[in-house]
């Protein structure tokens, strides 16, 4: 889970789209208790689009499976929100995570986007940090997606070139963490992290960039190609 290291006590305006009432209400109460404002809580994609149009929230939290077909309404809604309102962060959360769905989402919405397993609501602070990060235009990717990407063999030859430590760093990069956060997590210095990152991009044939989001997207796109 991406934990923002520089959390500022800001009051976020949030729209929730989740068809299960118990989850919708639970999220609304939790977020309200943490000082955020839930401007709308809806149960389907159409109402979500209306609510976003009306309230222009900082972030929309979107369940993937919603009526009527219960397949990928949430993903499609997230993409169309991002196209119509690039300033609105979208955090898609799902009972299952799919690397493909994540890749599609990140391909069309390179900033202010998150994709999390629904289970992550259990760690409330982390979840709220993720929301805040997406609201700020950051990127959040579920560790499970990263794990799947790193264990699949599609790029086994290339990834084999990475050292275990570099894989660890790449995994954290893919989760949207800053170099400083990675340094904190791995108990190493910022300089060492920078060296790892440079090595990773070198080995993967990517030009290094200062932008965290573009690092994530580049890594994802490369892994999913």
């Amino acid at each position: 889970m991406a934990r923002a290291t520089d959390t500022a006590p800001e009051r976020l305006r949030i729209v929730i789209a989740e068809d299960a009432a118990i989850m919708r209400d639970g999220l609304t109460q939790t977020l309200t208790r943490r000082g955020h404002e839930v401007v709308a809580a809806v149960a389907d994609a159409e109402s979500l689009l209306q609510a976003v149009e009306e309230h222009r929230p900082d972030v929309a939290i979107i369940d993937v499976r919603m009526p009527p077909t219960h397949t990928d309404e949430g993903l499609r809604a997230a993409r169309s929100i991002h196209a119509g309102h690039p300033g609105v962060g979208v955090l898609v959360f799902s009972q299952y995570v799919e690397t493909r769905a994540a890749a599609e989402l990140f391909a069309t919405a390179p900033a202010g986007v998150g994709y999390l397993l629904k289970d992550r609501v259990a760690d409330v602070s982390d979840f709220i940090d993720a929301i805040a990060q997406v609201a700020r235009g950051g990127t959040v990717l579920d560790p499970e997606v990263v794990r799947q990407l790193l264990t699949v063999g599609r790029r086994a030859d290339t990834l084999a070139a990475l050292t275990p430590r570099e894989r660890e760093v790449l995994s954290l990069i893919a989760q949207g963490r800053t170099n400083a956060a990675i340094a904190g997590t791995l108990f190493i210095s910022g300089k060492v992290v920078e060296k790892h990152v440079a090595n990773i991009f070198d080995k993967l044939g990517l030009a290094p960039s200062d932008n965290d989001n573009r690092r994530v997207i580049a890594a994802l796109k490369y892994l999913e190609s």
Binding site: D19, A20, I22, M23, G26, L27, T30, R33, R65, T69, H70, T71, D72, Q95, Y96, E98, T99, R100, K118, D119, V121, A122, D123, V124, S125, Q148, T151, V152, G153, R154, R155, A156, E224
Partner: protein, 403 residues
Amino acid sequence: MKPYAGLMLQDAYAWLRRHPRVADAVLGVVLLAASAGQLRISPLSAALAATVVNVLLAASVAVRRREPVLAFAVGASIGLAQAYFGFQPAAGAPVRALQPTVTDLAIVVLLYTLAARRPRRVSALGLAICLAGAGIAIARWAPVHRADGAGLALIAGAGLGGVLLTAWVLGDAAAYRRAYYVSLEDRLAVAERARELQERRARAVDDSAARLRRIERDLHDGAQVRLAALAMTLGEIKENMEQSNGSDDHTLTLVGAAHRSAKDALAELRDLARGIHPPVLDRGLPAALAVLASASAIPARYTAEITERPSPAIEAMAYFCAAELLANATKHSGARRVTIGVREQGPGLVMTVTDDGDGGARLVPGGGLAGLLERVQTVDGRLDVDSPCGGPTTIAVELPRHA
């Protein structure tokens, strides 16, 4: 409309076919009437006796369909008696009541009926009796015409024998035709039954696929959501306790354990639900197989050429087969590359999983491949294994588009 002769004849024929007993009775009466002139003999007692004999013959025609053997037995007995006693060249005057008449044509009809309605061994015996009777008649009658007896006997024998044989052959052919129709009907009934069972099986397969999908959705909308909400609440309680000073450490430990349990249960429930019905299947087989390929532990390439979606049950079957074959390739083959392909073939589809591993995969009873074969056979699918030692291995699963 003006009545048309051909049409009327057709109607009459149809009517007779609908009323066979009446037709037989009419035939009996006609035969009897035709021989009326031959019954006017004297003395009166002989005429009466001859009438009784002829009426018996006619009556046996009337009941020929219900009692073919009895009718034939009566007719043949009378015929034999006539053949023997009706001509008595040596003893002088024949028994007049037993002289042959036109009604004797009844015997030909009865032989035909016997051949048409009874087994061949019975009707062949009947034919033999008839031919023997004809022989007796000719033997008894020929000496009367001593002048050129041999030639006449030959002609008579050929005539009588030909008529009897023709009757038997026609009857036998009718029996054969009837048996053929009966077998045809049986076969039609079997085919109809097979079709019915196939439909019923398709319904059962579709029902079970729909039920699994419903269970997954119920889990998703019910237990999983509740559990996630519970885990969220426990998480909040835990964080609150951690932040507030003077919390009971023991209670905090318990809440922490409950929180972890809830999260573990969520993960387990997710795996369970996904095993019941992978939600990605709702987006179609190509999407599901693409996800499978992208999550494969060995590099997997994937191609799909499907224009029309198969039924959900078939999609699920293809998906689980692909998952199992991919897992097999990963575990056993030592392959470096796997290719999954789905294409349409005739009325169904073919999915192939090819790996460049060591080969030597075999269909053994109780094995994984045998399990897959059993699974696809429930919808008349096929599974072909081509896996020479040293590889490569290609496993082809053929499935219909609908169960």
